[in-house]
Amino acid sequence: MATAVETLRDTPFAIGGRTFHSRLLVGTGKYSDNETMVRAIEASGAEMVTVAVRRVDLDRTKQAGVLYHLDPKRYFLLANTAGCATAEDAVRYARLAREAGFNEFIKLEVIGDQETLLPDVQGLLEAAQLLVRDGFKVLAYTNEDLVTALRLEDAGCAAVMPLASPIGSGLGLLNPYSVRIIKRRLKVPVVVDAGVGTASDACITMEQGVDGILMNTALAAAQDPVAMAHAMHLAVEAGRTAYLAGRMPRREVAVPSSPLEGMLD
């Protein structure tokens, strides 16, 4: 794939045998209204969009399902198992999601702690193994722990998704070192999921060399979600291009940019 710079060639971004143009994946939760959500997703340039599985409101007091507003032919739907606290629940939700008939991809979440929403890695691995055996393409939301990431890859996950910081926190990339080492050691795509707060966070995250970013609250909770979605689109491209370009080494002392020779006496 050509970048804006002629000399830079990027590898395609492929997960589970599918290729995507955009390295930005976005959620559909927490928007103030559906029109804003649709416009923000458009502005983000994302092709892969996450959705959650929940009970139909039989009294119709809440709004209709998200597909009423979002064209499933235009976007690749990635259902999640958000809210699940056990492997058994996550497998149940994943199967319900697959039955909706769009694809066999699942964003696997098994939450171990309600305050931090950090994953239960034991339940996560168990669910990943079951779902992979059942034919799912599993994108596993995990913490920035290399050993867990390696085990998720061994379990057959299509992508591993370490967090930048806790879900909805907007704290940005807290541990670039761990995310970098996960990316370096895994063969499957590494998509950073959760914690990005603003465009600079997205840019710094992409500069670590990861394959993509998934975000929701950073857009939905911005003062202007559509403008922030545009900013994130640019930031992801900027960060990716900077990574490919290769940054200059850091130095703790100044090095002049102008020649030392030819100065006047």
């Binding site: 959620g27 559909t28 939760g29 927490k30 928007y31 959500m37 996450t50 959705v51 959650a52 599985v53 929940r54 009970r55 139909v56 039989l58 399902g65 998200v66 597909l67 739907l77 259902a79 999640n80 958000a82 149940r92 199967r95 319900l96 999601a97 039955e99 909706a100 008939g101 879900i167 909805g168 959760a194 998934l214 975000m215 929701n216 609250t217």
Partner: protein
């Protein structure tokens, strides 16, 4: 004989027509079978089979769909 039975529908007790199929249940709720996924006593019922499965007293039925999420 009473012409309704009680089932648990999305976690709530509800009276539905005796002998109704899941497809009839969706119709009574004004729900499009293409827009929901049906779980009957913890087993997913495929769309094409919805007209073949009848609810019995005490059954647990879950009707789910996609909502906004991250």
């Amino acid at each position: 004989m009473n012409d309704t039975i009680d089932i648990t529908l999305n976690g709530e007790r509800r009276a539905v027509a005796r002998g109704a199929t899941l497809l009839e249940l969706l119709a009574a709720l004004d729900l499009d079978p293409r827009a929901v996924v049906v779980e009957h006593n913890r087993a997913i019922v495929r769309r094409l089979a919805l007209g073949d499965v009848r609810v019995a007293p005490g059954d647990a039925v879950e009707l789910v769909h996609f909502v906004g999420g991250g």
